[in-house]
Symmetry: C2
Subunit: 333 residues, 2 copies
DNA sequence: ATGAAAGCGCTAACAG
DNA sequence: CTGTTAGCGCTTTCAT
């Protein structure tokens, strides 16, 4: 026989389907005797309830969609892992989507998720497809995006982090600080934090855009080429640890002493990078808190929308960063 | 109005629900005129088919479950990302499960997945819960596990990789090679490869078990303590790059020259680690090929089980590794 | 080329 | 405490 159904359990136990459903959901009153009979029957035919049929009832599917550029990036991998674990504790399953930073993919995933009746969506994707999506059938929470979207956002204090990092370099004697970033844009808060610190110290800003779509090899080449040609640079503030690591590699190759001749600080501070490169100074994002806050926010929206159709209004939650000094920034006593 | 249904589309288009279903699935004959009318109606009311209801029909849910220890680990993160992308191309969605190496969690996830009518499961989890699961309702493919399970397995050539790595160290002059591993076990192929090379060279084997459950900090402490107390060690073969990185950090701290006084080689060679620590020698797993092979295998099983209920019998596919020499192994000319 | 009716597996009234 | 009757949103025979 194929997959046994609730009906089969009922037949074996000698009760009605409703009764089986009741013990399954622990709803209503049922005598201990019937309950036992049913459990026995379920075990004897290896019954597994069909979750699909259950959620068709209009009930919640207990599904949440996760859209990230790619969990191959430790920042998103760690985030995804934490989010999935927390949601699992609350009885939710997670559908994973890696948009690879392709807007069409994001749109496709978005449609797919609502079509699958997800109860909510958490996204850390970068394009604006999602942020500007009109009315979405499921509550959505964004992670680590610039302000202004129409959906609630959870992120670390990018502005402060970048500001602190740059200030730290300046306090440690840097005067010619280059900032490597993925994409320049008006509302890039890390870039803004950098600029603010640079201006305050009356230094010359220098922002190098490495490009989102480019491969890691291209990024490396650009970092190397730039540093080769600008020997006057005495510090690097990178918008992520990967770029910072490249700068570090360049220094090693050129036998330039870090931090004496070149100071370097990155951004993200994932457990992965800190385990591999503990020396690297970096702005540490509170990844665990971000995951927790995003999940809390989403669950709240899901439960709220059961009563009223309130939309969480682009409210955002900004979590504090910390700085890991490592040894790639000079310590000023 | 809540979510529009197929019925609403039919009403708006002035046709029967059946017809709408037909254009939706592109099945049977329908006049171009009706087709257009229906598409128009769908667009006008923003219709999104309910995937849940569709799969209830007994049809495939086009869902695949992924069970990994945690995608926070770049090896699994990269694998998960590649697998998800490939499956998405084939029209499958992915449910992500991070078992955190807890057997109970694996079992729970397994039940949850079959209950959700997944068409198949890919797992890289380490416990034996899954490998020994009796009859499973969905086809299952395992990644990177020891032989012997009852399910098809896709993995890299662990034995050869470990053997080659150890041989390389020996050829470069190492005589006292310690092997750091997570868990010792009879069918740990990396350990076997190490032992084989050690025996061939008539050296003394030295296997240090760091423990699966322990935290990264505990691992680091153990690595450091061991190396502190065994200064005679002149090479490290680590069963993953994380341990190898720890050895490297110890050497830096002790100002011991790598590779002159201590050679180090790891295992996995993820894009992440190679980007962050390009100097680190490592046995590179063909992650992309692993992902591709696992997906191919699974899709094949899924399609096969539509006709006959063949089980892919614990057949396994072993993919070749490559060695990245970096600069932590001496080059012998 | 299109429609009516039955049912996928389960849950939710409403009786009794 | 338990069973009967509908129906979730969609697909699918079988007619027409």
């Amino acid at each position: 026989m194929a997959q046994p159904k609730l009906h089969d359990v009922a037949r074996v136990a000698g009760v009605s389907p409703t009764t089986v459903s009741r013990v399954l959901n622990n709803r209503g009153y049922i005598s201990q005797q019937t309950r036992d009979k049913v459990y026995e029957a379920m075990a004897s035919i290896h019954y597994q309830p069909n979750a699909i049929a259950r959620s068709l009832q209009g009930a919640k599917a207990h599904l949440v969609g996760l859209i990230f550029p790619t969990v191959a990036n430790p920042f998103y991998g760690e985030l995804a892992s934490l989010i999935e674990s927390r949601l699992a504790d609350e009885g939710y399953k997670v559908v994973l989507c890696n948009s690879q930073d392709r807007p069409e993919a994001e749109q496709r995933y978005l449609d797919m998720l609502v079509s699958h009746q997800v109860d909510g969506i958490i996204t850390g994707a970068h394009s604006d497809v999602i942020a500007n999506s009109p009315y979405l059938a499921a509550p959505l929470v964004t992670i680590d995006r610039a302000e202004g979207g129409r959906y609630p956002n959870v992120r670390c204090d990018n502005l402060q982090g970048a500001f602190d990092a740059t200030r730290l370099l300046i306090a440690s004697g840097a005067r010619r600080i280059v900032h490597f970033t993925s994409t320049q844009s008006a509302n890039n808060l890390r870039q803004q934090g950098y600029l603010r610190a640079i201006e305050q110290a009356q230094l010359i800003p220098d922002i190098i855009e490495l490009g989102f779509a480019a491969s890691a090899e291209q990024h490396r080449t650009r970092v190397f080429t730039y540093l080769d040609r600008h020997r006057e640079v005495d510090a690097v503030f990178a918008s992520n640890d990967s770029y910072a690591a490249m700068a570090l590699q360049w220094a090693e190759q050129e036998r330039i002493c870090v931090p004496d001749s070149l100071q370097i600080i990155g951004f993200d501070g994932t457990t992965t990078v800190r385990g591999l490169l503990p020396h690297l100074a970096t702005v540490v994002q509170p990844i665990e808190d971000l995951a927790g806050a995003a999940v809390d926010r989403l669950l709240h929206l899901i439960n709220a929308s059961e009563t009223v159709t309130v939309n969480g209004e682009g409210s955002s939650e900004v979590l504090p960063i910390t700085i890991h000094r490592g040894t790639t920034v000079r310590s000023v006593s």
